[in-house]
Subunit: 225 residues, 2 copies
DNA sequence: ACCTGAACACCGTTCAAGT
DNA sequence: ACCTGAACACCGTTCAAGT
């Protein structure tokens, strides 16, 4: 029965995925090439195509590997606090892995890790009192919202940022731009400049997530909110 | 004063942007190369770097060009209906331009078109009764939400879809997968399979947007909701 | 001021050939 | 069964050189 008697860990899809994860961390998604992943495992690029159909499939594996380190927050008999913690920790996970949002976004090829997370989240929504239909939709909303938010947060804001300008500097520059607009043509932009560019991403996330949770709460009968 | 006396339209950034737009429509974002854009305007790739710092900057221009066809919905003295229409038409615009969400997402290098849209949307939020701080944040929330949603909607769902499988087929396959899971380990996923994979993207968008709008409404004093 | 040729250092993928 | 060499058809970007 033992198909692999020697200790040398044959080149598996698992090993490939881990190598891809290291390359992603080191060089980012734009620097992630089949050639580099191959080099990382000590093999030539062409060899990868024996284990994996193409680069897309490797990215599917990578996506699930990123989710592997996700940990659901503790149960605490307060659906709203749980879902808040859930979304915040999902955001943290995406922020902590380089370009993670871009890798994961829209890639709903459900790997085992994603399945476990979904199962757990669905359970909390149902016990909170949401109907089956609402539970399914709410789960989609939360996933799409967090991924969308972090995607904005993590992606290069413009050509400027690629060239080394920090996020804060870009925001400040936008603030100056807004303030400098003609007040007759752009009264709102110029007046709201501070509010538009002041809040950092943590504050924005908090605001947005609370609005989404308010919206979900409105689906519940008043006594369960 | 006339710097360009002959009628031949010199190679401008504008012309470049329009060419890029055509290449995007034809070949998608992954097929959009500097070489192809150059060919589209009858020039060699190296020439582009006279007009534009790099590809990122061309993508910034492209992003604003996509927004150029956006039209704010009519005023109708109902903030909720207006914002619904706003978001729905923004989604439409992104869906109608190939890979538009990927081009626009996170690229807040505010071009003139985006500025005009923001100004208009801020105005509606303020007259609806939102505070200045809430107006700024609500505008961010709506933009991030729609972009995040369409990004999921438009991006290849997995290696499978790249190989020609339709979105509906992928969803159906996911449904079969969910239903086939062991009911003791995945009770929620298996029971909610239909709800999770049934609704099409229009229904999902409608649900999610209404939750977001409910959440925003909760910020207003009751009489203005 | 604007464009080109040629080069540099890369890509993803295929496929016959090796072991 | 698994890996390689070599090739194909591409990339973004730079830079001396042309006009």
């Amino acid at each position: 029965m033992p198909e692999n008697e020697d200790a040398t860990p044959a080149l598996t899809r698992e090993a490939l995925t881990q190598a891809a994860l290291r390359v992603l961390e080191r060089d980012g998604l734009d620097g992630l090439s089949m050639r580099k992943v191959a080099a990382e495992v000590g093999v030539k690029a062409a060899s990868l195509y024996w284990h994996v159909r193409n680069k897309q499939e490797l990215l599917d594996l990578l996506s699930d590997a990123i989710l592997a380190s996700a940990e659901p927050p503790p149960r605490q008999d307060d659906w709203r606090a749980e879902l808040y913690a859930y979304s915040a920790s999902y955001r943290r996970l995406l922020l902590d892995n380089r370009d993670a949002a871009r890798v994961v976004a829209g890639r709903l090829a459900p790997g085992p890790c994603l399945l476990n997370l979904m199962e757990d989240q669905l359970d909390r929504l149902r016990t909170a009192g949401f109907s089956d239909a609402d539970t399914a939709m709410a789960s989609y909303l939360l996933g799409a919202f967090v991924q969308g938010f972090v995607l904005q947060e993590q992606s290069p804001i413009s050509a400027a940022e690629v060239l080394g300008t920090s996020r804060r500097d870009v925001a400040d520059a936008a603030g100056d731009l807004f303030r400098g607009l003609p007040t007759d043509q752009y009264p709102n932009l110029s007046q709201l400049a501070d509010h538009l560019t002041g809040p950092d991403m943590d504050a924005r996330f908090d605001f947005c997530l609370n609005r989404v949770l308010d919206g979900l709460a409105a689906l519940l009968p008043p006594e369960r909110r």
